[in-house]
Amino acid sequence: MDLVRRTIERYVRLTENDWARIAPCWREYAFTRGAHIVRAGGVEDRFYIVKSGVQRMSFPHDGEDICVGFSYDGSWSGGYDSFVTRRPGRFDVRAVTDSVLLGIGHDDLQRLYAEVPVMERFGRLILEELLVGRAAREIELLSLDAEERYDRLFKRSPHLLQLVPQKDIASYLRMKPETFSRLRGRRS
């Protein structure tokens, strides 16, 4: 639970009183490697902070599984679109390695937004952060070539290659696995 508090306090300061209301809303969930954390087509009821493990977010398209991102220690995870809209989501989230996530239910989070003022500020700040992240990724995908995307990713997350299968990273970078391994060979 320390992790939840530390994560929230990256954005806002909590009083002991705030924390006493927030803490009971979070629960721990364990997933083994390969497990679905979120299923495309289902309505997602939880929003997660990653305690351990690596997760992979993707969506099915044309018989392929297109990887849109990864989450790991201390980052957010879950099907955020569906969590917000309360409609069937388009994303799958699966555990790449054994994972422990701390989750909060939609109703609990809404109640905290209403009852603990600083939590609403927290909610706004993480949304802003997610939005900025999406914008940066969109620019990356539209303006950089394969090689630049590869370099950018490994500058940002050099540990990823040890944690995630190459084909998932290739899909995330929107390149063929062959292109990916060629680039990798050239870099090492």
């Binding site: 083994t32 490697r33 390969g34 497990a35 699966r94 555990a95 422990v100």
Partner: protein
């Protein structure tokens, strides 16, 4: 064997397993995910494996009970089938707790290869046990010798209804021994960690 005794024995084992599964659900995530070796199952995968296997019998029994059980009079004796008896004997642990033989797992029942496992696996396991217990109650007024169910070994091998209870319960017993071993190893690792590095242990 006497049908009533069979039902009572299997029900007692299932109740024990359910109680244990409920207790396991309350364990810390690190214990539930602990692997004795990188390629060996953790506790959640063991329970999910049981769901994949026992689920076939639960659904098969529910179907055949719905179609035929009411029309059959109670049969006080159950005689295991040739294959059902053979496979059940090779599956269930011996009275001394040893395992008759090691077996290879079908790929389709190997959780890391078919969708993983989570806390929900424990809920599904408890649900399967509950449904099997309900079927065992209905078995007190029908004939377990005259209904047949497709086995988990493939639809070609069909077990008598009595064996379709005995096999999964024995299979579960076998894997509960493994479950206890894995959880004991997880607990061992935790106490060693706390003895040598108390600051590394975090209570949630």
């Amino acid at each position: 064997m006497r049908t009533v005794e069979l039902i009572d024995d299997l029900s007692a084992v299932l109740r024990e397993q359910m109680a244990r599964a409920r207790a396991v659900k309350a364990l810390p995530s690190e214990a539930l995910l602990h692997r004795p070796a990188p390629e060996q199952w953790n506790a959640l995968e063991i329970l999910e494996h049981l769901n994949l296997s026992s689920g076939i019998y639960v659904r098969g029994l529910e179907k055949v009970f719905a179609e035929r059980a009411a029309a059959l009079p109670f049969n006080p004796a159950f005689r295991p089938g040739v294959l059902g008896g053979l496979f059940t004997r090779s599956m269930a642990p011996r009275p001394d707790g040893s395992i008759p033989n090691r077996m290879r797992t079908f790929r389709r029942m190997d959780p890391p290869k078919v969708g993983g496992a989570s806390l929900e696996s424990i809920d599904r396991f408890i649900d399967h046990c509950t449904r099997m217990l309900a079927l065992l109650e209905r078995a007190r007024s029908t004939d377990l010798d005259r209904m047949k169910v497709a086995s988990s070994l493939g639809p070609v091998i069909r077990f008598k209804a009595g064996d379709a209870f005995r096999f999964p319960v024995g299979h579960q017993q076998r894997h509960f021994l493994q479950l206890e071993r894995v959880l004991a190893a997880a607990a061992d690792q935790r106490t060693t960690t706390s003895r040598w590095a108390p600051c590394a242990v975090r209570t949630v």
